[in-house]
Symmetry: C2
Subunit: 242 residues, 2 copies
């Protein structure tokens, strides 16, 4: 897993946060893929310099990280990367109809991620949290009371009583694990209160955490801890059981 000598995948993502890149890391780790987490490495063609160079390249630069070099090409946008590499990693079937179904769910996860980010930055992502705290409280309240129930209620409906979303393990299951973990970190009181409504998702989350490669990854130093620079951030004043 992780870093080997002949990597097939080069991930370009911020080195100190889970963020949107974590969903790609989880897929690569779960599949046991040989990959380099470029910005977290040192040396020629690695580190933050290499990532900034990629973002600034003249021909078809990605809009933002994460981006993945693979098969001589570049794929970017979180859900797009998972969609693109899913079949090769055996985390998605090859038939178009199922891939499109999974992508629809994964894009909905993207919407939830964007909204989770905006709970702490409702006015401007370039301004400090401290300068938009009162707006963050208002947005977080709406997020906790309306949006988390709406998104997770939807995913719970899709999962139902099954052990996973589809009749086979896919990248969407890994992403659902990550959003549950992120929301529990950021909004522990809310998620504790809501837990009875999301038994299927919590069961799925537990099952994913127990997959041998994921369990090993979560214990390793390749897993960045949640922190206040990522998408899911814990601020006591933004969480509540009400």
């Amino acid at each position: 897993m992780g870093i080997v000598t002949t990597p097939e995948y080069e991930l370009y993502y911020w080195p100190t946060i889970q963020g949107r890149g974590e969903f790609v890391r989880l897929a690569l780790e779960d599949a046991g893929a040989a990959y380099l987490d470029i910005a977290r490495l040192e040396g020629k063609g690695k580190g933050m310099d290499a990532m900034m160079k990629l973002l600034g390249r003249r021909s078809d630069p990605p809009f933002a990280p994460p981006a993945l070099k693979w098969k001589g090409g570049l794929v970017w946008q979180r859900a797009n990367i998972l969609h693109a590499i899913g079949p090769t990693l055996r985390l998605a079937p090859r038939d178009e109809a199922t891939r499109v179904y999974l992508l629809g769910v994964e894009m909905t996860i993207s919407d939830l991620i964007n909204e989770a980010h905006d709970t702490h930055h409702p006015i401007s992502s370039s301004a400090y949290y401290e300068d938009q705290t009162s707006e963050a409280k208002a947005r977080s309240k709406a997020f906790r009371q309306e949006r988390i129930p709406k998104f997770l209620g939807y995913f719970e409906k899709l999962v139902g009583r099954k052990a996973m979303l589809m009749d086979r393990h896919t990248y969407v299951d890994l992403s659902l694990f990550q959003i549950m973990s992120g929301l529990q970190y950021a909004f522990p009181k809310t998620m504790t209160k809501l837990a009875p409504s999301f038994r299927g998702l919590i069961r799925l989350q537990k099952r994913i955490a127990e997959r041998p490669r994921i369990a090993a990854y979560l214990e390793s130093d390749r897993r960045v801890h949640f922190n206040r620079d990522g998408i899911f951030r814990h601020y006591k004043e933004l969480d509540s059981a009400r």
Copy 2:
């Protein structure tokens, strides 16, 4: 085009706004596809009732409109629909690498659309604009000064001096037309001021508007006008040349 007797496509979207559904309408219209805009029609299996029934169905409901019935299946999430139907409509090639490239750009358009929506609803999408106007002003300022230049600057870089994004006409060109039109409607002062920086996008927008089927569509009553219920909304107080 538009409505014929044997439609291959059934679009489910809010009947009184352009919104996210408009990007799908533009693709279907440009391709001369036979489609039904279900919620805008009357009769059995049509109208808002039919859409609400689809949203509430037990098995694999879409999270939100737009959704498209096609080939006996259902595709949803705006960018996913365009990705899925692109090759059949001859609005995307069939090779996977190019499809993934286009999808990355289209997902970035989704991000811009979400942010455009949040300019008038920065706190809660279920609350009235009038109850979040001061926050909307602050968010709009950041959107006008930082986000529009960032997103459009990126798309302008991709388009460059070309007549379209790729060496062939794709659904992304149609989407770029729509975001330019939407931003010009919502933020006329901002977009007039910024116009010199986005010559490539404005040229592309004009070229799309002149495509015969699009020109006919824009003149028809199938094109809903921009209004204050859609994604792109004009409020004088949210726009500024500064």
